[in-house]
């Protein structure tokens, strides 16, 4: 065990300057893709509940397709497949866009759940007591929808962090690719990949704890939406 850890002490100074920027790229991918997927998800959720039939149909079709195709395939299509159409994206952008296109569908379902869970009576009671539709939305509907949406939305952040590892395949200089590069120089696959794993864990675990605490707080006052 000591032997195992001493390897890290030995190579730390050589690895760190390469690992740190890679972690930055991973975090950047996560943040960018998350922001984009939230926007896409909101659009899809609204679209699926729209009264205009082609909009509804398109949003539903998009979600169905995105759920049946692996994120990796979407990444490849965005990075390679758009070139004949004249669109060549760099690896980072392609990563952000590809991940967002995939996760946006899931976010859409999460947001849709939030919108649909609101019972019509809630809104009516708000109007009956003299609130304008805007007030009703602000004080009654939005807080409730947030409570429903926040836990799964936060969970998706963690999933997205994991999925940034897929950008390895499209040569984005994130953590996995950097670890792989380092193994070809140092021949220490176990140490390097365990290190990568540990870094992911170090970021994901606190997020997971925070998500769980927030979820518990949100579920108070939710069970009966009559």
């Amino acid at each position: 065990m000591i032997e195992f850890l001493s390897v890290y002490a030995e190579h730390w100074s050589a690895w760190w300057p390469q690992i740190l920027p890679a972690v930055g790229v991973t975090l950047g991918l996560t943040a960018g893709a998350y922001a984009l997927s939230v926007l896409l998800g909101l659009g899809l959720a609204v679209g699926r509940l729209s009264r205009v039939r082609p909009v509804r149909w398109f949003a539903s079709a998009y979600v169905e397709v995105a759920r049946s195709v692996p994120a990796l395939a979407i990444l490849f299509l965005v990075y390679f497949g758009l070139v004949p159409l004249g669109l060549t994206l760099d690896a980072f952008t392609a990563g952000v866009v590809g991940l967002a296109l995939c996760h946006g569908a899931y976010m859409g379902e999460v947001f849709r759940g939030g919108l649909e869970a609101l019972h019509k009576g809630q809104r009516e009671a708000a109007l009956a007591v003299g609130m304008t539709p805007r007030d009703a939305f602000r004080f009654i509907l939005l807080p409730q929808a947030t409570r429903i949406v926040l836990p799964p939305a936060l969970n998706m952040l963690i999933v997205l962090l994991r999925d940034t590892s897929l950008c390895y395949f499209i040569t984005t200089p994130e953590l996995m690719l950097t670890a792989r590069d380092l193994t070809s120089t140092y021949f220490l696959p176990l140490h390097l990949y365990v290190l990568a794993g540990a870094i992911y864990f170090a970021i994901a675990f606190p997020l997971s704890l925070a998500t769980r605490r927030i979820s518990r707080r949100m579920s108070r006052g939710l069970r009966q939406s009559v």
């Binding site: 195709v69 692996p70 979407i74 758009l82 994991r162 590892s165 140490h191 992911y200 864990f201 997971s208």
Partner: protein
Amino acid sequence: MTDLTAQAEQIAHFSAVLLRGAVTAVEITLGALLVAILSGLLVALVKSSRSRLARAVADVYIEVFRGIPPLAQLFIIYFGLTYVGVELSSITAAIVGLGLNGGAVLGEVFLSGVAALHYGQREAALAVGLTPLKSMRFIILPQALRITLPPLTNYAINLLKETSIVAAIAAPEIMFYARNLTTETFQTATIYLLAAILYFMLCFPLNRLASRLERARAAWR
């Protein structure tokens, strides 16, 4: 006209190659699914034990496998273990890696499935004279199965999509063949599009099945 037929031929060729990958993908999925179910049951069992230590161990297992990307897990198993002398074939590594990962997910599924069963069900079964074993067989387990089937199916579908990453450890599944084809013919867009369509054709019917199961379960409750 020959240009079109040439293209059609090429697409047919691509599809045939990719289909070979699909077979591997399904194989890996089934193998990993088995491993996942077994380890998931084990996790669920350990987590419902009275020993705090045992529960903590299960928790660590779950958190570790949920916090680390499957790709990293695969690399550790396939490349990393060679450092300590363990060499696995890519398919074995894939099945083990994805399976253990799935164990963390399914463990929680099984736990919530059993928890969803009202405590009174078991009591009623015992009260009516069924032995604990029989009550498990005729009352608890069938219901637990019905409850966990939809999330299980969802997991299986996600697993199938996840097999796409085993191309990184040279397992001969769809993305692996796709990449090889692109290096041969440079028809990148077409090939990856075909791969995506292939996945879609595999997963979409499964998704519909899962939805129907979900609806049936909701109705049954």
